[in-house]
């Protein structure tokens, strides 16, 4: 039911601009007809232009049709068809409109949740007209200091150190951002100058077109941020890197801000995940897996020693989902399905560890040098195949192009990488039942064979645990906010050096990132709410994270790598914006190449691989060769276009063709 009433005459926009806030266009969403009617009439009384609807879905549709048609959205919290917070997130990410939450319940937790999800304000019912008379300030506030905020946002993000510690960031970040905004409003214009001026000239202008952050765009954005490094990602540079016409610095700045917020939220979720994972099993592999779930993390774990990789692989299975999640969810809210794919990743990771180049999950080179880019969600089958072959090159070249932007090629080159992967795959299959998982499981099984000695068996079992955990865990996180952390965590995982030792290190790092993973997972899960697999993926990711953390990596170099990766990952995840899976893929590709170069490419690469592509350091053993090859393949596969098909993602992602281990692309 939609009712539209216009205040002004035919030339709405001009009139609105001239007489702002009179004529401001508000969209009101509430399932309660009484409140909706009263609210609509009150808003009319304030001389706004009002559109009302009692369904969140139709509200989204209207917003998507023409995002320039509305200036502000007021939404109820409890709605039957969609959670108000979810709508809030979607609107914030896709349309960058200020959203005010409305509720009869004044519970502090709910208000906090609203703020962390990015609401401009939280009103209580009954709504009074005095409160409504002031809501136009949110529109002005958003329009003006975007660029100014960016600078502060950057500083803030750095300060809060998006890695892992992001738990408290959600609140602090929002506070900081809020403070920043205040400061911005008081400050003079930043160096961006001109752009700001344009905005300031018409603060109430309705003409500013809204940028649609499509999947591709977001992917580019994430790639650019990764390339620069999260802390160093300045809107100007990002803009240059992205090289997109018609994109202004302000657009990038605000998107960056959101992305950071998102990542922070993910990290806090990831910590929860990590806790869960920790509770589930102390085995490293399982943790690894969990960590790697994010796709990033997977790599890390995988990159660790062979056994680690297996562990990560196993944990990856869920992360496969993550891979998807990360890519899709993070990158693109619509990419929920991709999140599902991520689940598949864990499997792939494990597979990759086995030497497959398939990279969905970070290809942890079984050989240690595998810098498998964790392809999340990318066909675990591919990974599994690779793993089974137990080639040194664990690269999971095949990322689900469709779903997972975050696919991390997991180069499970670890010869040792036991087949925990295999076992993990089994575990994967169970919980979610997603095809991906199954594939991953199978792959893992294969990999496990390939993987060497280490905890392959253990990993396998762990995988199951972690995976199961992941599955369960996800459900909890479904409604969590962004899973930034997951991403971060996965990233960390992916940064696992190919050496088994490195994987150990990676694991330790992963723990840090676990939080991220968890967050990202939760983020993903929130986006993937439809996908149970996604949930597991996210869980798996979290699990991977944890497992990774447990694993003690002895390889110092890997530490460095991991750090770098983590950093990169964090940077990547710093952005709330949904990262297009493509970004991850793209970033993965460069990593692959670097790996071949035999350097800690992924340190730098990590930056570029926002998503799960983490290149692993060259495996020290002979697998490195393979890894590189697979990395190439992985990167190429990772770049495959991803389609965010929310519903079908899982299916699509799962449907990875078995990627022959030997055929590293």
């Amino acid at each position: 039911m939609t009712m539209e009433e216009k205040m002004g005459g035919s030339n709405r926009e001009d009139e609105a601009m001239d007489r702002f806030p009179v004529g401001m266009r508000v969209l009101a969403v509430d399932d309660d007809p009484i409140c909706l009617k009263v609210l609509g009439t009150l808003l009319l009384k304030c001389q706004y232009q009002v559109t009302t609807t009692n369904q969140a879905i139709s509200a989204l549709k209207m917003l998507r049709e023409n995002r320039n048609r509305y200036d502000l959205v007021i939404s109820d919290v409890n709605m039957p068809d969609m959670d108000g917070f979810k709508l809030l997130e979607l609107v914030g990410l896709e349309m960058d409109l200020p959203v005010i939450m409305l509720s009869a319940h004044s519970d502090t937790k709910l208000v906090m949740k609203g703020i962390t999800h990015g609401a401009c304000d939280y009103l209580l019912k009954p709504v009074r007209i005095e409160e409504l008379k002031n809501i136009w300030q949110h529109v002005v506030r958003r329009k003006k200091p975007d660029s100014k905020d960016q600078v502060n946002a950057l500083n803030q993000d750095k300060a809060s150190g998006g890695i892992g510690e992001a738990v408290q960031t959600s609140t602090s970040c929002s506070d900081q951002k809020f403070n920043k905004k205040r400061k911005d409003q008081n400050e003079d214009e930043e160096d961006d100058g001109e752009d700001n001026e344009h905005e300031n000239d018409d603060p109430s202008t309705q003409k500013k077109p809204r940028v649609v952050w499509s999947v591709e765009l977001h992917r580019k954005f994430v790639a650019a941020v990764n390339h620069l490094g999260l802390d160093k990602a300045v809107p100007k540079k990002i803009l240059d890197l992205m090289n997109v016409e018609g994109l202004t610095r302000e657009n990038v700045a605000s998107h960056l801000q959101k992305y950071r917020l998102y990542l922070k939220r993910l990290s806090s979720v990831a910590t929860q995940q990590a806790n869960m994972v920790a509770a589930l099993g102390g085995k490293d592999p399982s943790y690894l897996r969990m960590g790697s779930l994010d796709g990033f993390g997977d790599f890390r774990t995988l990159t660790g020693s062979g056994r680690l990789s297996s562990a990560s692989l196993s944990s990856y299975q869920p992360s496969g989902m993550f891979g998807r999640l990360n890519s899709s969810a993070a990158l693109n809210l619509r990419g929920i399905s991709s999140g599902v794919i991520q689940q598949g990743h864990p499997q792939t990771l494990s597979n990759s560890i086995n030497g497959r180049g398939k990279i969905q999950p970070v290809g942890l080179p079984a050989n240690q040098n595998q810098n498998g880019t964790l392809f999340q969600g990318i066909p675990t089958s591919i990974e599994l195949n690779q793993l089974s072959q137990n080639k040194s090159a664990n690269h999971f070249g095949e990322l689900n192009p469709v779903n997972n932007p975050n696919v991390f090629g997991v180069a499970t080159n670890f010869p040792d990488a036991r087949m925990t992967v295999g076992s993990s795959s089994s575990s994967l299959s169970t919980p979610s039942g997603s095809p991906l998982l199954l594939q991953a499981n199978t792959q893992q099984a294969q990999h496990s064979g390939a993987i060497g000695n280490q905890s392959s068996l253990g990993v396998a079992s762990l995988n199951q645990e972690s995976f199961d955990m992941g599955v369960h865990g996800f459900s909890n996180f479904v409604d969590n906010g962004r899973c930034h952390e997951n991403w971060q965590n996965t990233v960390q995982l992916s940064s696992f050096p190919s050496n088994s030792l490195s994987t150990c290190e990676a694991f330790s790092h992963e723990q840090l990132h676990t939080n991220n993973l968890q967050e990202s997972i939760s983020w993903r899960s929130s986006h993937l709410s439809d996908n149970p697999i996604d949930l597991s993926a996210s869980m798996a990711n979290a699990g991977l994270e944890d497992s990774r953390g447990d694993m003690q990596c002895q390889i110092s170099p890997s530490n460095n790598v991991i750090h770098n990766i983590d950093y990169a990952a964090k940077q990547q995840w710093g952005e709330n914006s949904s990262c297009a899976g493509a970004d991850s893929l793209v970033s993965g590709a460069p990593y692959v190449q670097h790996l071949e170069a035999g350097k800690l490419a992924f340190n730098t690469k990590l930056r570029s691989n926002e998503d799960f592509l983490f290149e692993q350091r060259k495996p020290q053993n002979e697998f490195s060769q393979n890894n590189f090859e697979t990395l190439d393949i992985i990167s190429s596969s990772m770049i495959k276009p991803e389609q965010y098909n929310e519903t079908g993602m899982m299916e699509g992602e799962l449907g990875y063709d078995a990627f022959p281990l030997g055929s590293c692309i």
Binding site: D32, P33, I34, C35, V38, L39, H105
Partner: protein, 220 residues
């Protein structure tokens, strides 16, 4: 002479009277007890043209036709409103609703209140069926219903109903079934009081408008 205070039993004979130009139908609200005025108004609308000289009723000119009742009815209205505020049945939000009523939305309050009655009765039925169920355990669902009830009641300005709902929700959060049952009883009771009083309000308002409207043609 009919007592003007005996609103419920008063049956105005409007058949031979002129009706004000403004549509009396707009004054009517749906309620369980139909006012007898309505069918007469309908007849009048089509049967008589404004300006037509109306014959005097058999029983003599009803007082309300002289327009004197408008003031009396307004006094009644204010008295009732004051009573309701004093009792806490209504609060300032109701006044806000009244202020929102203007020429562009002349029947705003009555429309909103009608929707409220409709929704509330649905909610009350749901709540009762939930609680009557032996195997009831879904307190979350009840919480959702209650949230909606709280929201709509507070938007109307139904203070007492809202307070009972809040207590109900607290009991539901604690999974206290007995407490919920008690709260439900109280809620239904308060809702009945509110509904009756609001009907009374609307009735007086309707008559007042009628009386005020009647005065107009008499000036010609």
């Amino acid at each position: 002479m009919m007592s003007l205070h005996d609103n419920r039993r008063w049956k105005p004979r409007l058949l031979e009277c002129e009706i004000p130009a403004s549509n009396p139908k707009s004054l009517q609200i749906s309620k369980p007890k139909k006012v007898n005025l309505r069918p007469h108004f309908l007849l009048l609308k089509f049967a008589f043209l404004p300006g037509f000289k109306y014959p005097v009723a058999k029983t003599g000119l009803p007082l309300w036709m002289l327009g004197l009742d408008a003031d009396r009815l307004r006094a009644d209205l204010n008295r009732l409103l004051a009573f309701l505020f004093h009792q806490g049945i209504l609060d300032e939000q109701y006044l806000q609703l009244q202020q929102l009523q203007d020429e562009s939305s002349p029947n705003f309050v009555s429309e909103v209140v009608n929707i409220y009655f409709h929704e509330s009765e649905k909610l009350l039925r749901n709540l009762r069926s939930l609680l009557m169920d032996r195997d009831f355990s879904d307190y979350d669902k009840m919480g959702i219903h209650l949230n909606q009830f709280i929201g709509s009641s507070s938007s109307i300005g139904a203070k007492r109903v809202r307070n009972v709902c809040v207590a109900f929700r607290a009991a539901s959060d604690q999974n206290n079934r007995a407490g919920c049952l008690r709260a439900l009883e109280l809620l239904e009771h308060e809702y009945c009081i509110l509904k009756n009083k609001l009907h009374e309000l609307f009735q007086i308002e309707q008559q007042r408008l009628l009386a005020a409207g009647v005065r107009y043609p008499m000036l010609n």
